[in-house]
């Protein structure tokens, strides 16, 4: 190459580069795309197909396509299971929010700054232990002869047999997902512009009014994100209802498990239930994105 004698016109370079412009995005996105296609899209389509074969059992001949599996879900007993799953999810999400917000608020705005990271790590630590072990720990705490009842009776309060009840499921779910709630709320509250709180106080707002009119709306995207994440996780949680709920707490993921790995092996019905769960979770995620979007607009 002798650039001095034969300078290459820049347009030639541009022309050569132009067709490759699509290459960058493709190269960057292809691995994740293939991954998603193989491990998310195709399996989901497979589940969808199986869900459309009524009465499908593995190893047995099946009839044609139909909506039988979905109609089966409409039976009261299964609607109750779905209702129970929603109740677990909504209830534990609210509990997480009510318990988590003050903690996150204190951590983000009030705690001594130099201890803050340590405190945060301390609170998030449970995330790093196995959810199975944590649920087991709660069976030990909640069983009639467990730590919880020992405490109650020591205080002169009546003992409670909460293990294998929905109460235990609420406790277990709240405990499991509280750290997520706190972590997300903390991130949101930490970004809160405290000058806005001063401005509100300056305009006559009491601390309580400032909280409801400024802090909460300002952190609403965080509240929504944290709540929806916890909602999605609790809606489809399997471990806690199984270990702590006993016979009282059949929820949708346990029901799905039983269709695939239980005695009935009703893969068609199980797939239909899975589609319902996938739909519910997708809906929640759509809400999350939409909510997030509107807030980014007003934020920007």
């Amino acid at each position: 190459m002798t650039p001095a004698s034969a300078p290459i016109p820049s347009t030639t370079w541009a022309a050569r580069l132009a067709p490759r412009r699509w290459l960058g995005p493709v190269v960057l996105l292809a691995p994740a795309g293939v991954w998603l296609l193989l491990l998310l899209v195709l399996p989901t389509l497979l589940i969808l197909e199986i869900s459309l074969v009524p009465g499908l059992r593995l190893g047995q001949p099946s009839g044609g396509y139909g909506l039988g599996n979905y109609l089966q879900i409409l039976q009261p007993v299964y609607l109750r299971v779905i209702g129970r799953s929603l109740a677990f999810a909504v209830g534990s999400t609210l509990l997480c929010l009510v318990l988590g917000f003050p903690v996150a608020y204190w951590l983000a705005l009030l705690s001594p700054r130099r201890w803050r990271n340590l405190l945060l790590v301390g609170f998030i630590l449970p995330l790093w232990t196995s959810s199975l072990l944590r649920a087991y720990a709660w069976t030990t705490i909640l069983r009639p002869s467990g730590v919880f009842n020992t405490m109650l009776t020591t205080l002169g309060l009546p003992a409670q047999n909460w293990l294998n009840t929905p109460t235990a499921v609420f406790i277990g779910l709240t405990y499991s997902f509280l750290p997520y709630m706190v972590l997300i709320l903390y991130a949101s509250l930490e970004k809160l512009d405290t000058r806005l709180l001063e401005a509100a106080a300056d305009l006559g707002a009491t601390p309580r009014q400032s909280f409801w009119k400024i802090t909460v709306p300002q952190t609403l995207p965080g509240i929504a994100a944290a709540s929806l994440l916890v909602f999605i996780s609790t809606l489809s949680d399997f471990v806690v209802p199984t270990l702590l709920g006993g016979a009282s707490s059949m929820n949708i993921s346990r029901l799905i498990y039983n269709q695939f790995l239980g005695p009935t092996r009703a893969w068609g019905f199980g797939s239909a239930l899975s589609m319902v769960l996938i739909l519910a979770v997708s809906l929640a995620i759509a809400l999350l994105l939409r909510y997030g979007d509107r807030n980014t607009v007003t934020e920007a």
């Binding site: 000058r195 106080a201 300056d202 305009l203 006559g204 300002q218 007003t298």
Partner: protein, 373 residues
């Protein structure tokens, strides 16, 4: 509550009672003394500025008045009532924040209505007053926009309206124009003075911009190191600074440290450290006192020949020269060794260039001997 504070004090009000008064106020943050021994009184209707370099305690002072800080010692009084222990939301003052601190999740209208709604005013009244405020700051078309959709100047006016609409006894302004560009700043300065005249309420403004303070204020407090150096009208501050710091901070000046040889009433003769003998205006001072002579660049005249008269006249040489259009900015090195900054009108009668030998001279009344710090 703000109303009751005002009502309670209204009865006791005398014509001369200040709107805001600080008495011997100290404020420490840990080991740092942010303000000390602050005494100031702001009269009703005044446009009062607190001026100083960053870190001088001026913003802390404003926050003490607003109620975001409580004094470590001393008292804060608003309209005669001691509010030292009263939280911010119960003080009859409103603040325009340096960053505006607009509520970005609310429209312009809702931002302005915030204080009124908090006080549970009737909806119709809120609507009327918000409408008035919007008109006052000329933002009616923007009522339903969000702060993020406004320009800096518009946001600034929303911040003003949000404070004004509450009809506070005192408006506090924390570097209100600091975030605006030069041109908008000039325009908003005019708007601020207009508003102040229209509303007739007390304005207390914190600024580090001496020009802004001079242009807008009835009186200025100059702060340094947590203390007030001087309180006075703009011309007091500029023409009759009490301390070398004030002289230096407000406008440009040349400071020549020295000692008084002869003290007369209103005039002294000073020998500077380099041996220059200077006649200067002064208050009650005695011989042998350490002083600093301040002479402003625009009061110094340059000429090619020695000037007569009884003023101060010294020989020197131009060492630097900057052409600034309306005038020339020169640094003249005197034969005694000192350098003086001189601002010379851009006229044809004094053709000077670097290295030109010149004489500098000024009247005794145009320079001031200040007690050395």
């Amino acid at each position: 509550m703000a109303q009751t504070v005002r009502a309670a004090t209204a009865a006791a009000v005398t014509q001369t009672q200040p709107d805001v008064e600080l008495r011997q106020v100290f404020k420490t943050f840990g080991a740092d003394l942010a303000v000390r021994q602050l005494d100031l009184a702001v009269q009703p209707g005044e446009f009062f500025s607190i001026l100083g370099p960053s870190g001088c305690g001026k913003t802390t002072t404003l926050r003490l008045i607003a109620g975001f800080e409580t004094p470590t010692a001393g008292d804060v009084l608003i309209q005669g009532a001691n509010v030292s222990a009263v939280p911010a939301h119960r003080r009859p003052v409103n603040t325009v924040f340096q960053s505006y601190a607009l509520f970005d999740h609310m429209t312009v209208k809702d931002n302005i209505a915030f204080g009124l709604k908090i006080r549970h005013l009737a909806a119709a009244q809120v609507r009327d007053r918000v409408g008035d405020a919007l008109r006052l700051v000329r933002l009616e078309p923007m009522a339903n926009r969000y702060p993020a959709q406004l320009s800096g100047g518009q946001q600034q006016r929303v911040a003003l309206a949000r404070a004004l609409v509450n009809r506070p006894a005192v408006m506090l302004l924390d570097e209100p124009l600091g975030a605006l560009d030069q041109k908008l700043r000039k325009q908003m300065q005019v708007e601020l003075t207009t508003l102040h005249r229209q509303l007739g309420i007390t304005f207390i403004m914190v600024t580090h911009d001496q020009e802004e303070a001079l242009a807008l204020s009835d009186r200025i407090a100059v702060m340094n190191n947590g203390q007030i150096e001087q309180i006075g009208t703009p011309s007091d501050i500029y023409d009759r600074p009490h301390t070398p710091f004030v002289a230096d901070f407000i406008g440009d000046t040349n400071l020549l440290p020295g000692r008084i040889d002869e003290a007369h009433p209103a005039q002294v003769r000073v020998t500077t450290e380099s041996g220059l003998r200077v006649l200067a205006r002064a208050g009650n001072m005695s011989s042998n006192q350490a002083v600093v002579v301040s002479v402003r660049p625009e009061k110094i005249n340059l000429s090619l020949g020695a000037a007569g008269g009884n003023g101060n006249c010294y020989q020197g040489q131009v060492s630097h020269l900057m052409y600034l259009g309306t005038h020339l900015h020169c640094i003249v090195r005197l034969s005694s060794g000192e350098s003086l900054t001189v601002r010379q009108p851009n006229r044809a009668d004094t053709p000077i260039a670097v290295d030109t030998p010149v004489y500098v001279h000024w009247a005794a009344d145009d320079c001031l001997a200040l007690e050395a710090a």
